[in-house]
Amino acid sequence: MNPNDIQRQIENGLPNASVRVDSNDNIHFVATIISDEFTGLSRLAQHRLIYSILAEDLKENIHALQLITKTPEENK
């Protein structure tokens, strides 16, 4: 799995989100996601939303994923 696959997967699940996925080994990934769907959600709920989108991949293909989630306001 590579960063683009993960980015596309998240974008499919969160159509108007801004998504960036980085990795230097295709094993450890850092996903930075800004979406207004996070507004009003706790950080825990925000991460759960992303984990539900990536549920299948997290079982096998993704071993280490760091999540950075923000609402548009937090990103100003």
Binding site: R43, L44, H47, R48, Y51, L54, A55, L58, K59, A64, L65, Q66, L67, I68
Partner: protein, 109 residues
Amino acid sequence: MSTDTQTQIQTLINTHPVILFMKGTEDFPQCGFSYQVVDILQRNRAEFHCVNVLEDEDIRQGIKTFTNWPTIPQLYIQGEFVGGCDIINELHENGELAQLLAKFTITTA
């Protein structure tokens, strides 16, 4: 997940006010994320119990279903799931974790 795994997990969480489901042990964490959370708990001088999920595949998979959270480590405080590595890092940085752990710090007599 079998009912006795679920019961086993529930009992662990009820028994220990601060409990970390991790890969490895406090002294020998086997993964970077587990190591980070152990380090943060130690820096907060917290008294916590560790469960090495690498020693029990049923718990390793069961805790993910139990919490509805697909990754390890997982930290529970007073029976409540607090988060994995990312969230514990953030709570530590903004001081919320210290408050959650206030009652569970090691008291040196």
